[in-house]
């Protein structure tokens, strides 16, 4: 669709302009590639040690597609929001462009195409890294790339549209307020079950639009067959947990012995409960 739209408009001129600009600030472009990699190492390989397997695969393999979709989202939103806002309001780049035969549609198409190109660049690098780490289990993993592009396309359009409504830099905090929960709750936390059991969090999860993105990307990795209920296991019920002060006391007693707070997490107390299925939340 984008190729068609680009071929019909002058959007490719803006694409070319962005390419030339980023030739000088390539570090900015390249550095975005490292962000999901850092997250993969920290959450997947660091935190994942304490989580064990999720639905039969390692936690790193489990969150890798989620990080791919998230990096597509973040890339599209940063590019479509901050950069477009700056060019629109301060750089006056588009004002200059409209003095040429280019029109507003060309600007929109060109910026969307650029945001998607950037997203595809990051997604490709990420998939290659993930494959090198042995976290991709099927050749269908290649199809995660177009899936990430589709995710990026959705968010790029939304971001560029929103950036025209933004009045000042302070309004970006509002955008963060929407973007950050999507990043955190939609993909990463359900596996931990940090909040999936709370009714509020459940309602929040149901309301977030990215529900479609994860199965899309996970499907490409060939393991999204489970029903939704199994992927989002029921969490702790707040009332039942509050009614157990004794457990709290036990935790404090453990800490009072001067142990490291992580020791209780580490696996020197027999098999971790989360692997036995008794505590999948």
């Amino acid at each position: 669709v984008t190729a068609f739209a680009v071929s019909r408009t002058r959007g490719h001129l803006l694409f070319e302009r962005n390419l030339m600009v980023y030739r000088r600030t390539w570090l900015t472009l390249i550095s975005g590639f490292f962000e999901p990699i850092f997250y993969l190492f920290s959450l997947g390989l660091g935190l994942g040690h304490f989580i064990g397997d999720v639905h039969g695969v390692s936690y790193a393999a489990y969150i890798a597609p989620a990080l791919l979709a998230s990096s597509a989202m973040n890339g599209a939103v940063y590019d479509g929001m901050t950069n477009v806002f700056w060019k629109l309001r301060y750089g006056k780049v588009y004002d200059a462009m409209l003095a040429t035969p280019m029109g507003p549609t060309d600007v929109a198409v060109g910026e969307t195409a650029w945001a998607q190109f950037r997203g595809l660049l990051y997604a490709t690098g990420f998939v290659i890294t993930v494959a090198a780490l042995g976290l991709v289990e099927s050749w269908w993993g290649v199809l995660a790339l177009p899936a990430a592009v589709v995710v990026g396309f959705g968010f790029a359009g939304m971001a560029i549209g929103t950036s025209t409504f933004i009045r000042s830099w302070q309004d970006f905090d509002t955008v963060q307020l929407v973007q950050l929960p999507m990043f955190l709750f939609r993909h990463l936390l359900p596996a931990l079950g940090v909040s999936a059991g709370d009714p509020v969090a459940r309602a929040l999860l149901a309301a977030l639009p990215r529900d479609d993105a994860r199965p899309l990307v996970h499907d490409r990795h060939g393991r999204a067959g489970e029903p939704r209920e199994r992927r989002l296991p029921a969490g702790p019920r707040p009332l039942r947990d509050v009614a157990r002060p004794a457990a709290n006391g036990r935790a404090s007693a453990h800490l009072a012995r001067g142990s490291s707070p992580w020791a209780i997490v580490d696996s020197n107390h027999g098999p971790p409960p989360y692997q036995s299925g008794a505590l999948t939340n």
Binding site: T28, F34, S42, L47, L255, G258, W262, P273, L279
Partner: protein, 217 residues
């Protein structure tokens, strides 16, 4: 069987509580780092280069030292407000295990200032704002993810472990976590505090040097 099951449940419950508390306080300290870094990055560069507020201020009886101290005070206020709100939320969620948790508030301010000082020196030194992208991507985000916030530093392989121990964030995370979990020991808390104060002092000296070079000479 029932007893075994119950003790297992208690274990699992307390395990989850401590884990949640550890990560929650880790994120508290990491947020302080991000606020301290951000507030001294673009705003400082803007005040020196774009809006030139600092030039205007120096035309009054204010000196370079006042600019630096004033900005750090503002950052400290912001950190205290955010940290206070965050601690209240943590208390509501029941992840504060000790009355010592009140001391987490000053330690959060210390963590933020330990970053704010050196970063404001860097902002005055940088020629263009592209450097901030690299600073955030290769400095702030790796520290956020690997400095004991989400998992213990001992999980890291060797050269990286020592680097993590040297970051102010790890010291800040450990300091804050000791207070919220109630595991604090005097010597360890003092060591962390001294290390953070060292960073604050070094940042102040460096900032004074780069500010003078940028604004006065």
């Amino acid at each position: 069987m029932d007893l075994a099951l119950r003790s297992f449940e208690y274990w699992a419950y307390s395990y989850r509580r401590v884990w949640r508390a550890s990560i929650a306080t880790g994120i508290l300290a990491a947020t302080a780092m991000q606020i301290g870094t951000f507030e001294s990055s673009y705003p400082i560069m803007a005040a020196i280069r774009w809006t030139r507020q600092f030039h205007a201020m120096l035309a009054t009886p204010l000196r370079v030292r006042d600019l630096i101290v004033g900005h750090q005070l503002y950052v400290a206020c912001r950190l205290a407000v955010v940290g206070g709100i965050y601690l209240v939320i943590l208390a509501v969620f029941g992840v504060l295990h000790s009355p010592l948790a009140i001391l987490a508030l000053p330690s959060v301010v210390l963590v933020g200032l330990a970053y704010s000082g050196p970063v404001s020196a860097v902002s005055a030194w940088l020629e263009r704002d592209e450097g901030f992208n690299a600073l955030f991507r290769f400095g702030v985000i790796p520290m956020f993810l690997f400095s004991g916030t989400f998992f213990p530093v001992t999980r890291l392989p060797h050269p990286f472990r020592e680097i993590a121990y040297a970051t102010p964030l790890w010291n800040g995370v450990d300091l804050t976590r000791q207070f919220t979990l109630g595991t604090a020991t005097l010597s360890r808390s003092l060591a962390h505090t001294a290390y953070l104060l060292l960073w604050i002092a070094a940042g102040h000296v460096l900032a004074h040097r780069t500010f003078r070079r940028r604004l006065v000479t």
